[in-house]
Symmetry: C2
Subunit: 355 residues, 2 copies
């Protein structure tokens, strides 16, 4: 396969680490990155080391500083220039320019971009779909990838299926750790069986030293606790988020989360959505995982036996490693599908072999 | 995806079980099957139950009865009409006709066939490549799938890459349990890492009641023992094979086999072939697996940790279930690739997402 270039929307935890992991991937060149403050574009390839250094600490969490429009440079931000990062965002990089329309700037050059990873805070369910709309309106033909988690976003993307097909967009949704890595593993594990009875995804994340870089993710996770919803999580201040974490002594346990794994496995014909459960434990007090991330697929074989195939991630593999490797892998696969003329909305499982 | 129809060359253990498993797969219709005696073709779909019943016990093992030309009906068989099966092969089915050119008969109608699973004994390394040549010569444009194991066959197929591309053939090689299922799982498990240190595939097969149906596989496995090679295994009588099994008290242990998993993982860019080992234990005295089939992928994450991700198949899943589910899954994926205009030779890993 030829060289692939890609852009990253958002230079928070996921965006920055994707840039970092891409250094280890042959034939994959990051050419654009943006945050609310500005944009860096270089079609010959960004200097990732310089950009990463400049955007250290560049993590959104406080909703006052969150950009909830699908574009908007610094003047559009409610709280003004974001102060969380030491350097005030991507414009601290010598490769970046300040912009009031950073996403628009990337869209303007998207004719030369194979794939776009959308790594933006996603507190509005329709935020990523609306970003996709903007690419479609600009007649982008290429790959869009997100690492979303919530089931209901998939339906919103599916509503745009015809537009994507018309424009030549291959949208790969839920391409992170779970869904993404773990739904892919479930699809593989399912191949022993002619009928799937249960897919149980159980994750453990230890996030002590990584907490600062992943506050957006933690905030979104809190919305999965039974006592809270996504609106609560969005409206809370950082202080309130901290208080909830403290109440739980830094260890949050989640049961049967609304995670798109279910709908993604169902739409690929692996099993019924109601047979999929996603649960896990997040520990922000330790870097050790509180439990081993495990996928268990139980089914019936053609010869009438019932069994459970198991996929386990080593406790030494960080959440970050398990999000960004798969995201880039699915991105590459998306480009291959796009080049073969396959457009529309694809979950990770749709990109796997098998039934 | 639209309805897919397929043919099976060979109605031994793998061929018959593929037909059986296809009954559980939606949108997948078997339309042709053959053995050395004859051929059954029905473009509206074969009656699988009738065919399976008729071909019970139809398993090649004795080399005297093995057809080593790439075609040849009963007159071409050295030992005459095969006597192993109770019913003398596929012609016992009311759907089949006797033929001296059963493969040729399927090739003659291959314009209407999406995919062909090659489930023939493979004691000559170039046997499957030569079968592919015949399809290519007849200008077949579609999918060929095999479940081969030996590394060196891949090279022979790669030599035909240009022909396949010219004709519009998508050849999916090594699409059984290992390679196939387990290399696919290894590719998924590798996604946590930016550098792979080792892929260890360790399989267990308990084959007491299934022994009769899998003598071809057992014979081929014996060629992997350090004391024997493929020529020995081919030349041995059934009695000599039995003697070797008895010498080992029915339990054969294999270390670092020549299995195509290595080359298939390397060609897909996952790791170096020399970092892949395939070993396992075959027990023909018990249906219990002597050891749990496990894939261990060890690598380094982007953030510098070393870890091992693990994939385990339940002991309750039979070798048969783990060959035929993946084979049909890869077949379907092959058809999708073929329809998208991707031709050439693809290993299971080439059909997976990821780098």
């Amino acid at each position: 396969m030829d060289e692939i270039n890609f852009a990253v929307l958002g230079t928070g935890g996921i965006g920055r680490r994707t840039l970092e992991v891409s250094k280890d991937k042959e034939a994959l060149t990051p050419v654009a990155a943006c945050d609310r403050h500005g944009v860096a574009i270089d079609h010959d390839g960004l200097d990732v080391d310089e950009l990463l250094k400049a955007t250290e600490g560049n993590i959104a969490s406080d909703p006052e500083n969150r950009d909830i429009a699908t574009d908007g440079g610094s003047t559009a931000v409610k709280g003004g220039i974001k102060q969380t990062g030491e350097n005030g965002g991507v414009i601290a990089s010598s490769q970046a320019d300040s912009s009031e329309t950073p996403i628009g700037d990337i869209i303007a050059e998207s004719g030369q971009i194979d794939a776009v990873l959308i790594a933006l805070p996603n507190f509005e369910h329709d935020f990523i779909p609306r970003v996709a709309d903007r690419f479609a309106e600009a007649n982008y033909s290429g790959v869009l990838v997100d690492v979303l988690k919530r089931s209901r976003v998939i339906t919103m993307l599916d509503d745009r299926m015809e537009t994507f097909k018309e424009k030549g967009i291959t949208f790969v949704c839920g391409a992170g750790a779970t869904p993404g890595f773990l739904t892919g593993a479930a699809a593989i594990a399912a191949q022993s069986f002619v009928e799937i009875e249960a897919v149980e995804i159980w994750w453990g994340v230890g996030l002590k030293s990584g907490y600062k870089d992943n506050r957006g993710t933690v905030r979104e996770d809190i919305a999965h606790l039974p006592e809270y919803n996504i609106q609560d999580a969005r409206d809370m201040s950082d202080g309130e988020i901290e208080a909830i974490i403290d109440e739980h002594d830094g260890v949050l346990e989640f049961e049967d989360m609304e995670h798109a794994d279910d709908i993604l496995l169902e739409r690929a014909g692996i099993c019924n959505a109601e047979d999929v459960t996603v649960s896990g434990i997040l520990d922000v007090t330790s870097d050790e995982k509180p439990t081993t991330t495990t996928v268990r697929v139980t089914g019936k074989t053609f010869d009438g036996e019932t069994g459970t195939n198991t996929f386990q991630l080593d406790n030494n593999t960080s959440m970050e490693a398990n999000v960004n490797g798969p995201a880039l892998g699915y991105l590459k696969t998306g480009v291959r599908r796009n080049q073969a003329g396959e457009y529309g909305v694809f979950g990770p499982v749709d990109l796997m072999p098998g039934f």
